[in-house]
């Protein structure tokens, strides 16, 4: 028992020594840390960052924190230990992530945040923030217009623990609540999930057959909702999503979902790599730490130009 423990300690010390020694051999590493790639949005971020980093001659370390702040903290340790020159991070919580980013900064590793922001400045070098609120307002304005400013509607919310679920819902209601003839008859979380979007929509439809619209906090839930509505023969119900996925693009083109909002995931990940590269090579940070990336409304008019979270000119 005692020997085992001592061996573990020795092993740990060796590992520490190894990780301290590593940086010299991994001079060109950039760590790319995002939520789970199960959601194609986050995958697009990782792919976009990876491609740009390789183009600029870096090696990459691609990791996922699954929206778990503890796991994120361990991954930051890994990135520091591996001697990363920079960390590209789509973080696991606007408050919980401040300490993790600070830890990297203290270890001399600059962080470049993408998509989600943290509630602190001066800790990350840059924060390239998806303007979820502006995007939600765009989606809601389109929804209001499609609904003719009246009727009963349902809102499908994202996972409640996720800040963006709240931001998007707030953006939706900021617009929709200005129209008193639009009545929300049900509001439920479907946890960003397509299968839950389907089952929740099925149940809601049974209790509220008199609905004219569904506004969803993301595209996967919108996909679930439209499938349930179509299965019930309700092709008349207006569905609007959020993210700009290829699935929803195809649904829009075939007359299913009416609109979504594109977040430029691929482009902002590439921009973060460029800023990291500039910082590594010249020591120059971008003029402003927080940079808002506006979203773009996607309808039948421009769905053709959408591919993997990027809109061609």
């Amino acid at each position: 028992m005692k020997i085992t423990r001592r061996m573990t300690v020795v092993g740990f010390a060796a590992m520490m020594a190894a990780s301290v020694a590593m940086p010299a051999f991994a001079a060109d590493l950039i760590a790319i840390i995002t939520p789970s790639h199960d959601n194609p949005f986050f995958k697009a971020e990782a792919v976009g960052a990876d491609a740009k980093a390789r183009e600029l001659g870096y090696e990459t370390l691609i990791l996922v924190h699954d929206d778990d702040a503890n796991k994120q903290s361990q991954l930051i340790d890994t990135a520091i230990g591996r001697g990363a020159k920079a960390i590209i991070l789509d973080n696991a919580g606007s408050e919980a992530s401040i300490a993790a980013v600070q830890k990297a900064k203290d270890a001399g590793v600059p962080s470049f945040l993408i998509d989600r922001e943290i509630n602190a400045t001066g800790v990350a070098v840059s924060q390239i923030v998806s303007n979820n609120y502006q995007g939600a307002q765009l989606g809601a304005e389109e929804f209001v217009q499609l609904m003719g400013e009246k009727g009963n509607y349902v809102e499908l919310l994202g996972r409640e623990a996720d800040l963006n679920a709240g931001i998007r819902s707030k953006g939706y209601h900021d617009v929709i609540d200005e129209y008193p003839d639009l009545k929300m008859v049900a509001q439920q979380s479907a946890n960003w999930s397509q299968t839950e979007g389907y089952s929740k929509m099925e149940t809601i439809l049974q209790a509220n057959p008199d609905i004219q619209g569904v506004i969803a906090g993301n595209d996967t839930m919108a996909m679930g909702a439209i499938a349930a509505l179509q299965a019930a023969g309700r092709n008349d119900v207006i569905v609007v999503g959020f993210d700009g996925s290829n699935d929803v693009r195809d649904s829009i083109k075939s007359g299913g979902i009416k609109a979504t909002v594109l977040q430029p995931a691929y482009a902002q990940a590439q921009l973060a790599i460029q800023q990291a590269h500039d910082y590594i090579t010249t020591g120059k940070a971008p003029a402003e730490e927080k940079q808002l990336m506006d979203c773009v409304l996607i309808t039948a008019d421009n769905a053709d130009k959408l591919e993997t979270f990027a809109l061609s000119e």
Binding site: E117, S126, N132, Y133, E141, G171, D174, E288, Q291, D294
Partner: protein
């Protein structure tokens, strides 16, 4: 003895003052915390007359000039009449003055508007929001003295943007007539974002006068 008691009295007064001071300070902190709570509508009201309207009046060019320059060279128009955040991908928002004639009005929508002809060809050149619902955040985005980086997060930044619309609605738009608008003259100073191709500029007024026909 007299000196001693005087010193005592001073010390006592000092102690009392300190005690009192402490109590007041706690109360002050509470007040300050309450006052420090984010109140975008008050922030907007505080700068509207003193900074926002003067800035737009000074920065604005005649709509025809702004639109003509923006159509050919948005960056040149932006440098002269516009503003946008230094980083990020937001488009230019321009300050402009409108002096024209209303050629169409949509007042059934909550996001009501009038279409205005400024060059005398009887065709709409710009769409002016008349509320109560106002789309976008043109007024906020036209100002060079407000900046996303000074706000806690995008929620507060968005609420701040919406508060300009709320203010415009309460201060100007609610008082406007809603009937018989077509054919009447209109003067306004305000802002609009660079329009998407083929769309009318969506103008949000900061001052507006609707005259006779």
């Amino acid at each position: 003895m007299a000196g001693f008691s005087a010193a005592c009295a001073i010390m006592l007064a000092g102690a009392l003052a300190l005690g009192g001071c402490k109590f007041v300070r706690t109360e002050d902190e509470q007040k300050r915390a309450a006052a420090g709570a984010f109140n975008p509508e008050r922030l907007v009201a505080e700068i509207w007359d003193t900074k926002v309207v003067p800035y737009l009046e000074e920065r604005a060019g005649p709509f025809e000039d702004v639109a003509a320059l923006a159509a050919g060279d948005p960056d040149a128009a932006g440098a002269k009449y516009g503003h946008k955040e230094k980083q990020g991908n937001a488009p230019w928002t321009f300050a402009a003055r409108i002096d024209g004639t209303i050629v169409a009005a949509e007042t059934k929508s909550r996001a009501a508007y009038v279409d205005v002809d400024v060059d005398g060809d009887s065709k709409a050149d710009v769409r002016v929001s008349i509320g109560p619902a106002i789309r976008g955040t043109a007024i906020r985005d036209s100002l060079d003295f407000v900046n996303f980086n000074e706000f806690k997060n995008q929620i507060e930044w968005a609420q701040y943007g919406k508060s300009f619309n709320t203010h415009v609605n309460g201060a100007l738009l609610e008082k406007l007539p809603r009937e018989g608008l077509t054919g009447r003259s209109i003067k306004a100073t305000g802002a609009y974002p660079l329009p998407a191709g083929g769309q009318l500029p969506q103008f949000v007024p900061a001052t507006i006068t609707i005259g006779g026909s």
